[in-house]
């Protein structure tokens, strides 16, 4: 069975948008509950951390390039590096170490 790529694109876009729009349009009031607020506050940090490690090792194909890249990116971000600087540093570390190893 051949499938149409445009229908795939439509399905992906519709599901993605529905996920993003539903809470934002339904929750109209400020949430007062301290625990719910704390939960929502912690969510992005936890989810991004979970998605970063150990997935970065699979992406570069080697812990020997991924771990130094992760460490360098984290150090630069800690000392005030911008989003772009941090992203480029991660790429450069993987590139340079990839040549040596």
């Amino acid at each position: 069975m051949t499938r149409n790529i445009y229908i795939y694109i439509l399905v992906m876009a519709a599901v993605t948008y529905a996920i993003r729009a539903l809470p934002l349009t339904v929750i109209r009031k400020e949430i007062k509950n301290k625990r719910i607020r704390a939960f929502l506050y912690y969510v992005p940090y936890v989810t991004l951390a979970v998605m970063t490690f150990p997935a970065i090792i699979d992406a570069t194909g080697s812990a020997a390039t991924a771990l130094p890249a992760l460490a360098a990116a984290a150090a630069l971000a800690w000392f005030g590096g911008s989003l772009l600087q941090v992203a480029v540093t991660a790429c450069l570390v993987v590139f340079v170490l990839g040549m040596i190893i």
């Binding site: 790529i5 936890v46 150990p54 997935a55 941090v86 480029v88």
Partner: protein, 240 residues
Amino acid sequence: MSDRNKYQSFFKGMRDAIPIMLGYLAVGFTMGICAKNAGFSPFQAFLSSFTQNASAGQFAGYTLIAAGASYLEVAVMILVANARYLLMSCAMSQKISPDTPLMHRMLIAYDLTDEIFGLSVAQPGFVEPFYAYGMAASAIPGWSLGTLFGLIAGNILPENIVTALSAGLFGMFIAVIVPPARKNPVIALLILFSMAASFIFSRVCDLGLSAGTRTIMLTVVISLAAAFIFPLKEECRDDA
């Protein structure tokens, strides 16, 4: 809000999001290569990035499409891979003024990405809709054009460069989560704990879960536990 203030908010958003645009241009490159592997034409890759703005979701979607999955399978995978946006959207609903009209809410939702969310939560007070549109005006072209260029140039580039570029996405994630961790030790602790848990459940005992399901379950369990152990102090509202 006066027209003048709207313009000011819009341009401030655009300017603040320039690093996001450049990062997306670079990371979109890798996305273009994935789209090509799934049989997408340059225009289709551009269109899918323009209508989704979702790194992990698109990546998961392309992988399934390349494997010949059904529309329903792709829909479920996107739902799982992007479920974190459901949580971010809840959080974002608290970061905009409660009297924001429906139309603005619907438009803000369109480009609610990890990085846009990161920049939004870093703003003091409520996020103005026009500030959000400014960020989107920088971010969306960066992402969709990056994907387009990646698809066109991806097989010209040597493999070691493509591998190096794939690390850029994670660099962006780090750039979003580390600066708040410096200010708030609870976040630093949570990040380290989350990475350790993620490692254990993907490498030591994976329980047969897919990466998407694992991400959602760990996020919900760890954030919920943290909410009970470390409830927010009132002053966290504005500066974090």
